[in-house]
């Protein structure tokens, strides 16, 4: 467990020794967070941490610091959010978490990546790029690295996402694909096109949606194949939607065929896409 108070003492001289809980504002307090943690409930923890958004609460610091290492992503995320509202405190943990991206265990990498993403620590991007190339990390750790790059939504994280798209784990690949579209000022979806042939249907679903949403014209042929032949109706639906977004008249035959698809998920989408062709 990280002990932020030790760090804090080393950096700032004016630590108070008070142990009395602050009870004010939205009704949040360190003791209520502790109770929620004891209950084991994700929802209770999130609710109580949110309640201390603007609360001066020294006793909360170590409790929330501990939550940055919780086993549940939702809890780690809200802990990171809490620190993002306290930038100076967040800075105390950033260096440590960045170090763990390079040398920590898979669990430490997971925690570090999620913290750095939730606190929007853009300076962590070089460390995230290096971490995704580390060997021996678990899929959970790799997923967190990719997720952090997605949250930061910076083009300097594209390398992380590209590597994530080549991951052996389908969830990592899917997460990387989805994150690609929402990177700020991202316009080219070329790296996603190859994922249209991914063996996992959830990845193909995501890839279809991304190339359609980003109007990646080079994806047309692959999408036309998917829309008429993929075994997964969700893939066929997303491919039909994507072809409509691309709007190329060459897709007419494939969409006509898809308009008669056996699945109601696909038919109307294909018909509408036909109307979107130029």
């Amino acid at each position: 467990m990280k002990n932020i108070n030790k760090l804090f003492t080393a950096v700032v001289l004016c630590i108070a020794a008070s142990a009395s809980p602050a009870l004010a504002g939205k009704g949040g307090s360190a003791s209520l967070i502790s109770q929620a943690v004891s209950s084991g409930s994700t929802d209770a923890i999130i609710a109580e941490v949110e309640k201390t958004e603007a609360l001066m609460c020294e006793d909360c610091i170590q409790i929330v610091t501990n939550l940055t290492e919780d086993s549940r992503y939702e809890v780690r995320e809200v802990a990171g959010w809490w620190f993002a509202k306290r930038p100076q405190l967040a800075e105390l943990l950033v260096e440590q978490f960045e170090g763990e991206l390079a040398n920590g265990t898979s669990t430490a990498v997971r925690n570090g990546a999620d913290f750095l993403g939730a606190t929007r620590t853009l300076t962590a991007l070089p460390n995230l790029r290096a971490a995704i190339d580390r060997g021996g990390l678990t899929a959970e750790a790799r997923l967190a690295i990719v997720r952090a790059a997605g949250v930061l939504a910076h083009k300097d994280g594209n390398y992380v996402l590209s590597r994530g798209m080549q991951d052996s784990d389908a969830t990592v690949r899917m997460t990387a694909v989805k994150a690609w579209r929402d990177v700020l000022k991202q316009t080219d979806a070329t790296p996603v096109v190859t994922l249209l042939a991914d063996p996992d249907s959830t990845v193909r679903q995501a890839a279809s949606a991304v190339v359609g949403g980003m109007h990646q014209q080079s994806a047309r042929v692959a999408l036309e194949t998917l829309v008429v032949s993929d075994v997964d109706a969700n893939v066929r639906r997303n491919a039909a939607w994507a072809l409509g977004q691309l709007g190329q008249s060459a897709s007419h035959a494939a969409l006509v065929k898809a308009s008669g698809d056996a699945s109601g998920l696909v038919r109307m989408t294909a018909k509408v896409a036909l109307g979107q062709l130029r």
Binding site: N5, F8, V12, C14, I15, A16, A17, S18, S20, A22, A24, G25, L32, A36, S39, S41, D43, A44, A47, E50, E53, A54, L55, M56, C57, E58, W81, A84, K85, P87, Q88, L89, R120, L122, T123, A153, H154, M174, K178, R181, D182, K185, T202, Q205, A206, S208, G213, A233, N234, R237, W241, S263, G264, L265, R267, M268, T269, K271, V272, A273
Partner: protein, 747 residues
């Protein structure tokens, strides 16, 4: 699965086994549900992750839409959708609406954990389901039928190509906005964006759509009912503002009768979308043969409400046994005390209490007599939330209500007022308003940290100033689909009054009001003919400028000579001053004119104050300092300042933090710049700005007395420098703006 059809007496009045007696009426002989053959009910697996009223992504597989015939405790339950539809085996369904002819149901469903919520149409005759094509990566929820074969919904899809969706007021959740699409899946349109969420649309008999909008601007932080036309134009306030609401948030409004709505009064957080039932009257109530109506003189000023469940909390405190909370309600008649079908859960309905107890709310369907405040159970499956009970009946479609768009606007939005001096919120002195400043809002989605500063305001950019004509009118063309905020300003560029909300409009829409939040019950009187602003034409307030270009030129950031007079002695240059990134645009002013004296060395020019914690005896001292250095200030393990010395000196500590932390301040403590109030700020009164409009005139000053520079014998701030400080204050006193977004610069 255990179905608990609670054993109410078979003979109670709500029971009926006869054929429908007609539509939308009530046969007193057989109870309020006497005319209802069947109720449609949504059953969602119980959960506890929807404490936030704008939560829309919760997913637990196994939801279904059922029909209960007759609508009684011993009625027959039939699953309408979608456990038997291929692809829907693991669906969760968040909401639904029955078509006007009662032959179809539109619903929002998420089919698997890796997917988003999408829209689907169930045809009741044969049970087949068609999926409406929507962006597979975006959520589409809360669908309702509109006349003209359209469906309205809320979505996190983004109307503005290439822009990210706004984050909410906590900078944590992606907001949802209004949109509509044809029932055949064609012609999807996304509405203009609020800076926070819009949710729970519902169709009114006059054809407008009522919904809940989260309003957040400085101290404003609550959910209000708003109206739009079916084309998402003509946004109008409905209920909850101006101190007229029953609670922090009002949601899930359903029309009882014209001008009258049943809604849920509750708090923003931890209430599982549930609260007290409130009977809202938007106008002056009157009685007819059809019941109590309230569509006469509808306005905030004339609105009122009646709490139908007075024991139920309207905040987020825990409800008690037998009191519980209501998830939603639908009126069966328009009596003064109406009969309702409701979804209600007993006991504590508050997310953190429930979660800590490892439990969840158990919503069931009940008939509620608001006169006697008695509930009669109809259906409660203890494994499910039984919500949104609706009679399976035909209903009259309201007229198609659309707005007149102007293609000549070229994709811009036209905003303005006929006479800005008419206001129900503020009294202006005739002639004191120079113009109206239009400001754009954005959240951290553009890559900002999760705080723009210490003042809790969102990011802002000044789009321009529209000069007010002598008849009080003004017009401006502004970007469509973005949150906008208006300030009336004086000849010194300082805000006289802030309109306390964000608003927005669609491309081609004209949002020209009577005044500046004028009384909705008064008539705006103008001279015959058109207003002067129409005759002159609108001010161009960056209506066609791309989002990424709505910022200052780099060369202008430290330029102290932007504002000057042109050959005709008219002020020019203010339109080049856009966002006030503190370290890039404001700090150069301090560096040039202030920091030589105000350098953090304690003395007469640099007063100090001490913040102490009485509990621990710890204390820290701050000395006035206008440098751009970062000077940490921490007490009791809590950070008071994360920004530069000049920012903290001007903005001061977060007083909410000081108050909540029980801290004491002693010494010479002052906040020198007030958010959205340059005119009331000590710094401005001390500097005493010279006139900026309509002509830059250094001989005229905003306040009596001399200027700080003259008193101390130093060079005056230039008009550009003074306006930067004014704008920094009036735009919320943020540290971050697009000009210093770390995401775009060196991070």
């Amino acid at each position: 699965m255990k179905l608990d059809m609670k054993t109410i007496a078979l003979g109670i009045s709500l029971l009926t086994t006869g054929a429908s007696l007609g539509c939308n009426g009530s046969d007193d002989s057989s109870g309020p549900l006497g005319n209802v053959d069947s109720l449609v009910i949504l059953q969602r697996p119980r959960r506890n992750d929807t404490g936030d009223i704008f939560q829309y992504t919760s997913y637990v597989p196994g939801a279904r839409i059922v029909k209960l015939t007759p609508p009684t405790a011993d009625g027959k339950q039939e699953t309408l959708c979608c456990t038997n539809v291929p692809g829907f085996e693991k669906a969760d369904i968040s909401s639904y609406d029955i078509s006007f002819d009662a032959k179809q149901i539109v619903f929002s469903a998420k089919l698997a954990d890796n997917q988003a919520y999408g829209l689907h149409i169930l045809t009741l005759a044969d049970g087949h389901v068609d999926t409406i094509p929507t962006d597979p990566m975006r959520d589409y929820v809360s669908p309702i039928w509109l006349p003209g074969d359209r469906i309205m919904f809320t979505t996190n899809a983004i109307v503005e190509a290439g822009a990210p969706q706004h984050q909410d007021e906590y900078e944590r959740g992606t907001t949802i906005q209004l949109g509509r699409i044809n029932t055949d899946g064609s012609h999807e349109e996304l509405g203009p964006r609020n800076l926070s969420h819009r949710t729970a649309p519902s169709l009114a008999s006059d054809g407008r759509v009522i919904f809940t909008q989260w309003d957040h601007l400085g101290g404003e932080n609550s959910g209000h009912l708003m109206f739009v036309n079916q084309d998402m134009e003509e946004l109008r306030e409905a209920f909850g503002k101006e101190g007229k609401g029953a609670s922090n948030s009002t949601l899930k409004a359903q029309e009882i009768a014209p001008g009258r709505y049943i809604g849920i009064a509750t708090a923003r957080n931890r209430t599982i979308n549930a609260g007290a039932l409130v009977d809202i009257r938007l106008g002056l109530p009157y009685t007819t043969d059809n019941g109590l109506l309230a569509d006469h003189q509808m306005s905030e000023a004339n609105s009122s409400y009646v709490l139908l469940t007075p024991d139920v909390p309207t905040d987020n405190s825990a409800s008690s046994d037998s009191v519980g909370r209501y998830y939603d309600a639908y009126a069966l008649n328009a009596k003064d005390k109406p009969d309702l079908v409701v979804s209600w859960a007993d006991g504590v309905v508050e997310s953190s209490f429930l979660a800590a107890a490892n439990s969840s709310a158990d919503f069931g369907v009940y008939l509620y007599d608001s006169a006697t405040q008695q509930r009669r159970p109809i259906l409660d499956d203890h494994t499910m939330w039984d919500i949104f009970p609706r009679p399976l009946q035909t209903r009259t479609a309201p007229p198609v209500v659309s707005s007149a768009d102007d293609p000549n606007l070229g994709g811009q939005l036209l905003v303005g007022a006929m006479n800005v001096y008419q206001s129900s919120l503020h009294t202006f002195n005739q002639g004191e308003i120079y113009g109206v400043r239009i400001q754009e809002g954005f959240s951290s989605e553009e890559g900002f940290p999760r705080m723009f500063g210490t003042t809790m305001f969102e990011g802002q950019a000044s789009l321009g100033i529209a000069k007010v004509a002598t008849d009080g009118s003004w017009l401006a063309t502004v970007p469509a689909n973005v949150p906008l905020h208006l300030q009336t300003i004086d000849n010194y560029g300082m805000s006289l009054f802030n309109e306390p909300v964000w608003f927005s409009g669609r491309a081609g829409e004209s949002r020209v009001c009577g005044g500046c939040h004028e009384s909705r019950t008064d008539t705006t009187v103008i001279n015959p003919g058109i207003t002067q602003a129409f005759a002159i034409g609108p001010t161009d307030a960056r209506g066609k400028v791309a989002r990424t270009d709505r910022m200052m030129a780099v060369a202008d950031l430290a330029n102290d000579s932007i504002i000057t007079n042109d050959a005709q002695n008219h002020t020019i240059g203010t339109d080049r001053i856009v966002g006030m990134g503190w370290d890039k645009a404001v700090q150069p002013v301090f560096d040039a004119k202030c920091v030589a004296c105000h350098n953090g060395v304690a003395g007469p020019g640099n007063p100090s104050y001490t913040i102490s914690d009485p509990k621990t005896g710890a204390s820290v001292t701050w000395v006035f300092n206008l440098s751009g250095n970062k000077i940490p200030l921490t007490i009791g393990g809590v950070t008071l300042n994360s920004f530069t010395a000049s920012y903290f000196s001007m903005a001061g500590p977060d007083m909410e933090q000081i108050e909540k932390g029980g801290l004491m301040i002693s010494g010479n403590f002052k906040v020198y710049m007030n958010p959205q109030d340059a005119r009331g700020s000590i710094a401005m009164k001390t500097l005493n700005p010279s006139q900026l409009f309509p002509t830059v005139d250094s001989s005229k000053h905003a306040f009596a007395g001399t200027t700080h520079a003259a008193a101390k014998g130093f060079a005056e701030l230039t008009p550009t420098e003074i306006y930067k400080l004014i704008l920094a204050a009036d735009m919320g006193l943020n540290f971050y703006a697009r000009e210093n977004n770390p995401h775009d610069s060196s991070y």
